[in-house]
């Protein structure tokens, strides 16, 4: 091998290798801030040595492969943290909006409205014969029913929006599944030819990461580089194919199914999981409690009111104050709106008697809700602070998930991230290697000259 031709060949390969090295380094530098990019490394090794009389003789360098540096274990962790984080941020977003409908604790919240409503009955009790007090009462009651309507409508709109968003996210999932599946086959065909499609794999990992924000997935990598992905045990990406998912609203709940299977996929994470939770559990629960409050008010106020007398000859009696059954339908009885003297303040029909007005005002402190354990206010305040604590705990949860994600990103970065210092060092190393190899060729050339001149 130590023949001049051999050395020339060796130097040529060395130049080649260093040139490739500079190529890989440039690629790294160019993609230093591309999201999802994994650092690549040129793996070089000494080529097989040659046996001579004097022992083994080196034959130069061989390019082994261009290696992608990435910690797939960290990726797996990130998928699950992404799912948790996606779920809690989505929930937080919706619940914060819901919270704002209640406008508590402020003077325009339902709490104040209900208080003013009862106060209006107190005022009526001091002057049951005054029509101005009746007028004020009707106005306060209207403000209160409006508040009920506004909140319940807000929650219902929130739910409708959640379903719309869910549908668009399902569409996004299907797109991602399709492109992951396509990238999978690209990877498989390259692998079959013995090539490592590093950048395609990066692309696919980015898509998987995006997917993991939307739903909770489990990913497995096959030896040929393809991945299979499943949502809660249902395979959605397998070798060479993928299964679309779709959302269906049945009755009051939304569910996700995959392909033609009838049994729903139990999505428990990701933004879709968050939206499902909000739609199926959280919002209906708040709405039910608000309905309880409205229903309690309607039933109790009506029961007292219908036993009393208004003003007139003969004094009207047996009238309800409210119509409706829940927060959406609660309204002032049309008879009262038509003639405010229908409002019953008197227990015996005499215009100065105020006992019914007082009795209705007492309902404020009567425990009528939650199995007669809470007053209207206790129940409502509990519900409002309940929403607050739900948001608080979800917020804390997403904060800690974010910290974990930051930690994982740092960990992945320490393997897959491009360090410019390192690349610069490599650049210098390869440049010098290239220079030195060229010098060898020059030396061999001079040696040839020497030999030729000898002749």
């Amino acid at each position: 091998m130590a023949g001049l031709n051999g050395i020339l060949e060796l130097a040529k390969r060395s130049m080649n290798a260093n040139q490739y090295g500079i190529g890989v380094t440039s690629h790294n530098i160019a993609n230093a801030s591309s999201p999802g990019y994994s650092r690549q490394r040129l793996d070089l090794a000494a080529s097989l040595s040659e046996k001579t009389y004097f022992g083994y003789m080196g034959t130069g360098v061989d390019i082994q492969t261009v290696q992608r540096l990435r910690e797939s274990y960290v990726d797996q962790q990130m998928y699950s943290v992404n799912a948790n984080l996606g779920q809690s941020t989505q929930q937080e977003k919706v619940l914060r909006l819901t919270e704002s409908f209640f406008q508590e604790p402020s003077d325009s919240g339902l709490n104040s409205m209900m208080q003013e409503f009862f106060n209006a009955f107190q005022n009526l009790s001091t002057h049951p014969e005054e029509s101005s007090n009746r007028n004020a009462l009707v106005q306060q009651a209207a403000l209160m029913t409006d508040s009920f309507h506004r909140i319940s409508q807000g929650i219902n709109t929130m739910r409708a929006d959640a379903v719309n968003e869910l549908e668009s996210k399902v569409g996004k999932v299907n797109q991602l599944l399709k492109s992951i599946s396509e990238l999978n086959s690209t990877i498989a065909s390259s692998s079959a030819r013995g090539l490592k499609p590093n950048d395609v794999m990066d692309q696919r990992d980015s898509k998987l990461s995006e997917l993991s924000k939307l739903v909770n997935i489990r990913v497995n990598e096959n030896p040929d580089g393809q991945v299979t992905a499943s949502i809660a045990g249902t395979m959605v990406v397998s070798n060479g194919s993928f299964t679309e998912i779709q959302s269906t609203v049945t009755g009051n709940t939304v569910s996700i199914t995959a392909g033609t299977a009838a049994t729903p996929v139990l999505v428990t994470g990701g933004e879709i999981g968050g939206l499902m939770n909000v739609y199926n559990v959280a919002l209906p629960q708040y709405l039910a409690k608000l309905d309880d409050v409205a229903e309690g008010l309607i039933t109790e106020v009506n029961a007292v009111h219908s036993a009393g007398y208004g003003i007139g000859t003969p004094p009207p009696t047996g009238n309800n104050f409210f119509t409706g059954t829940d927060s959406k339908t609660i309204d002032i009885d049309p008879a009262i709106l038509q003639n405010m003297n229908t409002i019953a303040a008197s227990k015996d029909g005499s215009p100065g008697n105020n006992e019914i007005a007082l009795d209705i005002a007492q309902l404020q402190n009567k425990k009528i809700l939650n199995g007669n354990n809470n007053t209207v206010f206790q129940y409502y305040n509990g519900m409002v602070s309940g929403i607050g604590s739900d948001i608080e705990s979800i917020g804390t949860d997403s904060e800690s998930q974010q910290l974990v994600l930051d930690q994982l990103t740092t960990q992945q970065n320490s393997v897959a991230g491009v360090s410019l210092d390192e690349e610069m060092t490599n650049l210098i190393k390869f440049q010098h290697g290239f220079d030195a190899s060229a010098r060898i060729i020059n030396t061999v050339k001079e040696m040839y000259d020497t030999i030729i001149n000898m002749v």
Partner: protein, 295 residues
Amino acid sequence: MRITEGTFASGFLSTVNRSRERIVKLQTQLASGKLIQKPSDDPQAADTILRLKESKNLRIQFQSNALEGEGMTDSTSSTLGQFGDLLMNLKEIVVKATGSGNNEDLTTYGGMVDQLLSEAVDVANTKFNGKFVLGGTQTQSQPYTLAADRSAVSKNPAGIDGVIQYQVGESSFIQANIGGEQALNGTDIFDLIVRVRDSMNNGTFTSVSVLDDVDKAVSHVLNSSSQAGSLANHFSAVQSNLEEQESQLDQYLSLTQDTDIAEATMNLKHEETMLDAALTTGGSIIPKSLLDFLR
């Protein structure tokens, strides 16, 4: 651990971001003066605030009820006082009439008593704030009517005895009226006046037969008047009590919901310093790389 530019950038960004989040929160607290904007800021405190506000609102309502009650009972008391004065006049007339044996004089006194009867009916029909104060719960109908021939005074057939109560505490109610039935013994006192007048006019008048009754009537009416007065006092005492409770609640409320300006300002300054430090170090470390030292 291998540290790359990416590590630097993401670490730096999340630190600065968290710092800014805290600054925004403190700024909102300072700008609004409220520690709690929404229940999720502090659910427990939000619950307390709602409870305290409800309680405070009720106190304010009770105060306004008590004020109304004070007005009602005050006017009842003064109405009955006036009525008492009239009865005192009646007594004077009766005493004067006792001395005179002359029939002509007696008729004159009878005329005076008749005049007094009209006044008494007017006083008993006093209206305050749109209500007949002695009408019981029949506040819209005149409690006493003098017959056209002035022979008798009748009361509202629907009754003049209903009790009206105002609420001044979670479970405390104070009577806000005294009906004619109780204050003036129904029509008994008017009957007495009519009897005195008629006896003077038809010459059967003897002091012995009426003086005692008149005395009893005076003391009964004055009693009722002072009873109404003490109800008014009760209403007024309750008001100052409620005011005190309200200011207590205000204090608690402020402690729970208002920003401690000094503390928040301190914290804000602290956060600003931290942010400055993060930005300064970030600004000096991140741009550095090997590139700066090559050639």
